[in-house]
Symmetry: C2
Subunit: 133 residues, 2 copies
């Protein structure tokens, strides 16, 4: 039994997954080399809150529909610097490879999302980069 | 001896650090709730490569000088979408709290960096957000 527990712990370590931890600087550093896809939206002045919410939810639903997304997060601007040029929303989509990003962009679910976005979109800005330190 | 090794492994797990892993989706998800500081630069057309390199190195040196930065990464645009509006550089600075960001912005080292940046800067865009899924 003790051997089994020991093997289980070693297995967890070798599997590259550590379920007891909450924040690990080492792991955050392993995001280096990943392809980050940064998307900023500025919405039209007459965009309704429920329309913006639908876009937020639509974007959040994309990773499950398209696949190939390693990690997804988003948020709304809280910078005190006043350098956001009207952009209020930032979405950070992380892919393992450029090939995954290349499959994501023309995917029907992504294209359908873009169509729902257009009526309320004022400006979009996209920058992709390979993360380095 | 066996007990010591066992305690060591348990200690590593409880310490929130798993040195044998390379990529862990669980850990990446724990970046939720962190304050992300997204900084985009577009340089002037006549900016020289060595001037741009000095800005990149200057930004990379900031976390060690200022403190309070949980994680730092950057990269140059590789998006095929042509929606970068001329921005070529993206820096992603992660703080644990808004207070850490508020201490970073007026820090003398940050201000000195901004002065070295100005001569070759065409445009800057900054968006901060609290990461959510």
């Amino acid at each position: 039994m003790r051997k089994l527990i020991g093997l289980g712990i070693v297995g967890l370590l070798l599997a590259g997954c550590c379920p007891f931890t909450r924040v690990c600087p080492i792991h955050e550093q392993t995001t280096r080399g990943k392809l980050r896809h940064v998307v900023l939206f500025k919405f039209k002045a007459d965009a309704k809150p429920e329309q913006i919410k639908a876009v937020e939810d639509g974007f959040r639903a994309l990773p499950a529909k398209v696949g190939g997304v390693r990690y997804f997060e988003w948020g709304t601007d809280v910078s005190p610097e006043k350098l956001s040029d009207g952009f209020t929303h930032c979405f950070l989509v992380t892919f393992d490879t450029a090939a995954a990003r290349d499959a994501y962009l023309p995917h029907p679910a992504h294209k359908a999302f873009v169509e729902t976005l257009k009526p309320i979109l004022d400006k979009v800005l996209v920058v992709d980069y390979v993360a380095r330190k």
